[in-house]
Amino acid sequence: MAEPNDRLYSESHEWVRIEGTTATVGITQYAQEQLGDVVFVELPAVGRGVAKGEAIGTIESVKAVSELFSPVAGTVSAVNAELESRPELVNQDPYGGGWLVRLEVAAGAAEGLMDAAAYERFVAEEGAH
């Protein structure tokens, strides 16, 4: 399963795609598989300032809750309002329609994140445990 190349990945299984000063964040295919059917997503308020690695929301399935950690520092500019009525988008389309948060970021915000290949290796190692 090849992860999309147009974005970067964190060790807590978030992806971030940066275009100019806008970063879009979601969770990966692996993350949504682990979680199971998503029933509810709690997202941060627009305008909130966020540090890299800060917990900014939660993603709930029936049996588990996962915290959402922002892979980049920035200011929340938008959240995916569709998830309120259709949380299953996170499962069905984690890299597209299931996006979670958009942030305004500064240059260099994506430092320290993995590319697709590195993330795939990371997941393979984790799965082996």
Partner: protein, 488 residues
Amino acid sequence: MTGHDTRAKEGLIFERSSPGRVGYQLPRLEVPLVDPAATLGEAARGEIEDLPEVSEVDVVRHFTRLSKWNYSLDEGLYPLGSCTMKYNPRINEELARLPGLAHLHPLQPEDQVQGALALMWELEQALVAITGMARVTLQPAAGAHGELTGMLMIRKALEARGERRRVVLVPDSAHGTNPASAVFAGFEVVELASTAEGTLDMEAVRRAVAEGGVAALMATVPNTLGVFEPAIAEVAKILHDAGAFLYLDGANLNAFVGVASPGAMGADALHINLHKTFSTPHGGGGPGAGPVAVSAALEPFLPVPTVERQGDRFVLAYDRPASIGKVRGFYGNFAMLVRALAYIRSLGRDGLRSMAEGAVLAANYLRKGLEGDYHLPYRGASLHEVVFDDSRQKAFGVTNIDIAKRLLDYGFHAPTMSFPLIVHGAMMIEPTESFGVDELDAFVRAMREIAREARETPEVVKQAPVTTPVARLDEVRAARSPILRWRR
């Protein structure tokens, strides 16, 4: 399934409603009926439109039919680890309902309730004897409530010394109520990873305590794998030397009543689940009771009131300046206290000892019977419960949840699933001392059959249950679009 199938037709009590039906009759009113608009003005309320109108017969039929969809302990084994599903004696139900006990108002003058106070005092004495600790508060309504009470006392004890320590250490194998209660008491939780044997990591404990700021460590004994914590007394010493406290979660007390002493382990606070170890019924989710035994160090901080004996009189004592105050209205779940004391009297010192022995025997018997088919993630000596996992069955795509559901088809309730968290695909089995080999053998046979089915016809296990009143439920739908009440 039992009896004729009324399932298809039975709805909610609101759906049984028929205008004009009544299910009650009140005593004749011999004073003038007041017009509430005159006395209460705009606060007066009319009839609540959607309340049902049903006859007494409707109510009896409705709830009787509902009851038939329940599996219950009276029917058979409930091998739920950490729940101690043991027989609920009927004599306890009779005694709790004696009007002289059940009708007492908590604010009646003390000279009118000497029997009730004597009963509470006797229960405290019995629990002191059983735990080897200094005193017991009977106030908490449940185990988690007891945990909170114990942690509040520890917090107060530290404050009394002028100390403010924020950290409570909790092993990753702990029941979820442990960290939740610690947070409710205003602490921060630091989770300690268990050893490869599933026990407390002594090095990790020493390191964490040495860092400072530790108020207490919460441990379960035996732990949630059913294994005795070998170094528990040493843990107590490490904590006490650092001015911290040891909280023991007593959910697994059934393993060693009459055999070992939490007091000797160095416990400062220990909650006791009367609805586990002491047979009070689970009631489909309570009520229970969670008395907390304390060491002398925590005695000054007990909730008020306590029951004290003065000569041959009993009193409710409020004079405890360092008390944490009250944790609930009145004095405790008294009707559950009645049941627990009756149980303790019925068993006596001999019966309590054979209770723990029977519990440990039965768990080990099941372990022996199942270890050929199911994987044991931790191989330490089991006391009253044993944890298997689904790793062998996973090879065929069958999970612990599937096994649980298939067990329902065999007429048993499932074991505790997916706990403790340190075991993936956990199945925690605690039979208790209530059952003979016939029932235990039937359970083992069922589990072996399911293991065979997992190997040969896994779809059968994955489709289960098929003989229960309902099949697997769409829990995702229930969580995504919650419908939490009936509406017309």
